[in-house]
Every structure is written in C-alpha cells, then in structure tokens.
C-alpha cells in the first residue's frame, strides 16, 4: 500500500505546478480583464476573413 504515498506525492507535485501557474497567472494580470478576451477570440485572420467589422475592431 506504500505506493499510495508515492501517488499522493506525484499528485501533489502536479497540483503544486498548477498552483504555481495560478499564482503566476494572477500576478501577471491574466485574469484582470474578464471581458475582452472572450470577445477577442472571435476576431481573427486578416486574409481569409475580410468582414468590415473585424477591420474596424482591429483599428480601434
């Protein structure tokens, strides 16, 4: 049954990696803006997507 301590160790390790990433994300302002990221993903591709509102958005 000793292996369970190893598994808990590896699980904690993964959790710690994620915790570190989480703190990095919060500190570097990844989650400061919770509105525009969801909008920005909708606008892309200059060449294949020449809708006018896209261009307008990009030039803002």
């Amino acid at each position: 049954m000793e292996v369970i301590y190893m598994l808990i160790g590896f699980s904690l390790l993964v959790a710690l990696i994620f915790l570190g990433l989480f703190f990095w994300a919060v500190r570097s302002g990844q989650f400061d803006d919770q509105h525009t990221p969801s909008m920005r993903v909708l606008f892309d591709q200059k060449s294949s997507d020449k809708k006018t509102n896209n261009q307008k958005h990009r030039d803002e």
């Binding site: 049954m1 000793e2 292996v3 369970i4 190893m6 598994l7 160790g9 590896f10 699980s11 390790l13 993964v14 959790a15 710690l16 990696i17 994620f18 990433l21 989480f22 994300a25 570097s28 990844q30 989650f31 803006d33 919770q34 509105h35 990221p37 969801s38 909008m39 920005r40 993903v41 909708l42 892309d44 591709q45 200059k46 060449s47 294949s48 990009r58 030039d59 803002e60």
Partner: protein, 734 residues
Amino acid sequence: MSSSTLETFHYDNDIVRKFGVASLAWGLIGFIVGLTIALKLIWPDFLGFIPELSYGRLRPLHTNAVIFAFAGNAIFYGVYYSLPRLTKTPMWSQMLSKIHFWGWQAIIVSAVLTLPFGFNTSKEYAELEWPIDIAITIIWVIFGINMIMTIMKRREKHLYVAIWFYIATFVTVAVLHVVNSFEVPATLLKSYPIYAGVQDALVQWWYGHNAVAFFLTTPFLGIMYYFIPKAANRPIFSYRLSIVHFWSLIFIYIWAGPHHLLYTALPGWAQALGTVFSLMLIAPSWGGMLNGLLTLRGAWDRVREDPVLKFLVVGVTAYGMVTFEGPMLSIANVNAIAHYSDYIIGHVHNGALLWNGGLTFAMLYYITPRIYKTKLYSVKLANIHFWFATLGAIFYVIPMYWGGITQSLMWKEFTSEGLLQYPNFLETVTQIMPMYGLRAIGGTLFIIGASFGSYNLWKTARQGSFLPEEEDEAQPIIDPAAGTTEKWHRRLEGRPLQFTALTLVVILIGGIVEYVPTALIDSNVPTIASVKPYTPLEIEGRDIYIAEGCNNCHSQMIRPFRSETERYGEYSKAGEFVYDHPFLWGSKRTGPDLHRIGGKYPDSWHVRHMYDPTSTSPGSIMPAYPWMFTQKADLESIPNRISALRTVGVPYAEGYEELAMRDYRAQADDIVNGLKQNGFGEIEGIEITSDSKIVAMIAYLQRMGIDIKGNTNPWDDLPSNERLRANFKPQVED
C-alpha cells in the same frame, strides 16, 4: 495603433490537415474494430478462431485506436489549429510539428503491429509494451516543447482559457504516463511492472482515471471553449466562469482515481477520499457544460441549421450526462451494482461517441471548409451524419445500461432459501444477448454516419483549394517582460530562499523516482505465509493469459459481498497478490471471476473448455483457443523472465534461471501424464504435449487463488524445491 509595428506571419495549415485526416482515418478503423468485437460477443465464431483476431487481443486495439489514434489526433488537430490563432504566432517549430505528427502515427502503427500479436502489458489504456512507452514519452515531450515555446513567443499577452486546458493536458499526461510505465524489460517486447498486486492496481487506476480526465476531457474542454464561440460567433457565456471551471476542475480531478477500486483491498480512507472528490467534480464539470451551452443563448435558431453547432451541442450535452453519471457511479452503493457490468461500457461510449466524437466531427466540419477556402460540400449530408451519430450512440448506450443493470441484479439475486437464483453465470449472459445485438446496431449506425461524414469532407476538400499557409498579422507584445525566458530565472537568482526551495523540490522528485521503486519492492513481503511465487510453468501460463487478453472479460477480484462469495468463493485478500506483476483484477465481467478457479475443475475440463467452450458450457460466448494446443510455449525467454521478475522483487533464488527449465518440464510432464491417464492425451487428433501453450495455461488456471487455502505447496513436487525454499524470504517459511 501604428501599422508600422504590425508583424505578418503564416499559420501552418498543412499540419492541421494532416492531424485531421489521421484522426478521421484511424477513427474509422477504431470504430470498425469495435464493431467486430461487438459482433464476436454475439457470434463467437465470427471471423473464425484466428489468434490475431480474437476478442481478447482486439479489444485493447479498439480502445487504444479510439483513445490515442482517433481522439489523440483530434486533440492535436484542435490544438494546432487554435493555439497559433489564439497566440497570434505560428507553431514554434515546423520541424517539431512534423516529428510530432509522424512519431505519433508510428506509435499507432506499432500498436497495430503488437497488440493483435499478443504483446501487451494488460494494463488498461496502457497496454503498449515498454519500447513504445518510451517512444510515447519522447513524442509527448516534443509536443509539449512545441506548445510551450509557441506560448512563450506569443503576440497576444492574454492566455485564452482554452490554452490553459492544453497546458494542463500536457503536464498531467506526461506525469501519469511516466509513473504508470515503470517496468523492467524481460525481452524486447515483454516487461513486468515494478509494482505488484494492490500497488499495481492503485497506480493503474490513478493513471486510468486521470487518462480519462486529462486526455479525453481537458483537451476537449479547451476545444469546446474555442470552437463553440467561433462557430456561434458569440463570446463564451461567462469568461469568469470558464476560469473558475478550469482551476477547480484540475485541482479536484486528480484525487478521484480510487473510485475505480471501491470494495477492494484499498484502505477505506483512500476509497472515501476518492468518492468525496468524485462527487465534488460535478460542480466544475457542470459549470463548464452550462457555460458551453449558455453561450448559445439567443443563437439556438442557428443550431437548427449548422451541423457544426449540432455536433457541439450534443457533445457538450453528453459531457453533462457523463459527468453526472461519473460522480453517481463513485457512490459505493451504486458502484456495487454497476462495477464489472456493461453499464460502464455504456457510460464510456456515451463519452467517447458523443463527447469526443461529437467535438471531433464538429472540428472537422468547421476547419475543413476554412482551410480549403470553400463551403461545406453538403450541409444536408452532414445533418444526416449527425442523426446517424446521435441515434447510433443512443442505440449503443441505452441497451448497455439496460443489460448492465439486468445482469448485475441477476448476479445478486437470491432465492427465498438463500441460494443464488442464477448459480450458472452463463444464464446471466444469455439473458442480455439481445442487448448486445442492439448495441451492434447502434455501433453500425454510428459508423455509417461517420462514413457519410468522411465522404462529405472529402468532397469539400475536392471542391476547394487548399491553403497551406494562412497569413495573419499582429503587433508584438510591447511589454518586454512578458514572454521572455530569461526574466524568471534572473529574478529567482536574486532570491536565494526561493531558489533553494525550488532546488529542493527538484531533488525530492529525483529522490522519489530513485528511492520509491526500491522501497516498493521491499514492501512486497508476503503477509500470508502460504502465498508463494509462481512456478516457471505458471509464469508462462500467466503471460499467455495476458497475451490473449483474458483479463478483458474475466476479473480476478472477488468483492466481499455474499452474492460473490457464494458464487466464486472466499473474497480476495490484498496479501494474495504480492507476486502479481502485473495485477490482473480486470474491470469487466463478460465471463465469471476467475480468482478461485484453481482446483475447481479437473485439468481435462480445461482442455475441453479451452478447445471448445460450448462443449462444457453450451451457449457460451467465450472464444475457442485451438491454437493453444498447437502453438509451442515460449521456453527460450523463461530465464530472462525469471531474472526480470527477481529484479521487480519476486524472491527467486540467485541462479534459479538455470534450474527453471527442469522445473518447467517436471510440472508440465506431470500435467500431461495426468491428462493421459484420464484419456485426454489428445483432443480431436491433436496430441497434448508438455511444451504446448495449453499446458502452461492449465497450470496457471489451477494455481489461481489456492495458496490461501494453505494445504498444498505448488513447489513441493518440483526438482529444485529444496534450494528454492532455502532462498525464499524468512516470512515465507511457515
């Protein structure tokens, strides 16, 4: 914005197309193999009794093809399309992309070339043998490097939530795969895990559960968060919820694994922990599901017309159903009924066909017209595909639910006298045969749908012109701090305390990797004095059992329920498995549990049963194994296997390799002579020889679960008995 700082770059559509084609092609093959084994459960002699096409060998091929070839390539398809567009930069290295693609396909081909030929580890969704395990690690890391470097070079400072899901996928799968693959090679294509019995079971299901979580769930959630907003042209319902969804999901998921081992020898607190975390999982899972569906508010009219949205909606709905079932199945009372039954097969196909399948086909219908600069060839045909897929899944899943519960309740049914109502296991199998038939119809419908889909996509590609490189432009990140690799290291160097702490963590990981295997091996001392290692003949029999995939239909773990002890015998104890490398507890009972099969029937019964199961059990759907009578056992590698098993902790005396063959012959001759005396020197004109596979198989079957009874020592009659006993660890001596 001054346009002078705009940078122009090109997305690599070629690699996207490659992964898409691979996913579709392997998917069709995986589905057809699935249908084949479904038909084999209805007509066991379907395709004849050819070793390479037997149920036990094809089932791992089916699961591996669908998980790693169909869903795996689909993940990369989604990541290689969405990640560059989200980070406004092409994938970091086209070379690594190519190595990743061809490496992954080579791994799949090697699975096709090993699993049907009996090379497998028996561990579910980790059946591939050790050289392929190493290849998987290398290719996975290449994918990770390519992805992380792309993120480092990004032109968009904000990491969209989908990217977080991709990162979690890479990190966790890497750890899971490596930890579950600690094994010692015996030959080029045969290895033994360093873990034994209960330990092996724990590691395997920690892996198995999290493989579902981080291979079939998180990457597809990332895909959901990219493709639903894109296809609906609406922002995600709540970006805040998506962030909460991500972090809560990954922190909870990894602790839920023990729910695969309820009512086993796992400590109670660990089982309880697994159940609690599994129940908690419903919150983030449903949060994510609702976030996806609510994105379509005000756009539901478009779902009526757009096949991409249809597949996305049914996929996310299936995700909601599956993630409701999961926590419910983790409750002990429910688990007692559903575990080992076909209910679980229904549960996983609900996820695989509709969630993974639905999202994959949605991506194919979304991306293909875009990279071919055209419209979908036929929306109508895609809608037909959608209905075939949905109805196919329903016809698959509901009969499995129905059959699973029916059979499980029959296993548990007692008469008013307190006897088993259905003492003959076969009776509970024939009862649900109509459900197996309906399931095959469901699978067929799904495949017909997928074929329509393939034709539609092919015609779409034909009518368009492929755009291998797609131009885009964006500003580089102005903040010099973001995206550079130097800064964090510089900062760390200025902080000795943090630096020391981090170094310590790294050393600790190294220590765990170095020390734990040894500690584990030492901890495998038998707690039951009468439990002995397997004899050379039994090792060969056990390895044949693994090669034939017997564990795909037979468990070796009797739970402490009266309905099980009445049917099979004494419930299984942790101490009985200390020499089991790997554990063979199984997860599904299409046939009865075998842990107490040893001594239950005479050798001659096994001869007749393995040659033709219906001769002893009329109506049996077990395949016949005529080749076990004609094929020779692998005698040459026995010494190597003994050494490898000693390395992982089985206490064979030093130098026993030289004596092993003498013991092998003695035990095999004994079985053959016994058979001859009972008139079974041959069957249907085939002479049973001591070096045939069947003799080794019988030896293993007769050994199973008898040690605990303590009245026989399997080593007693063997020539090297004395020397061996002297070298067994003191605890073994009684």
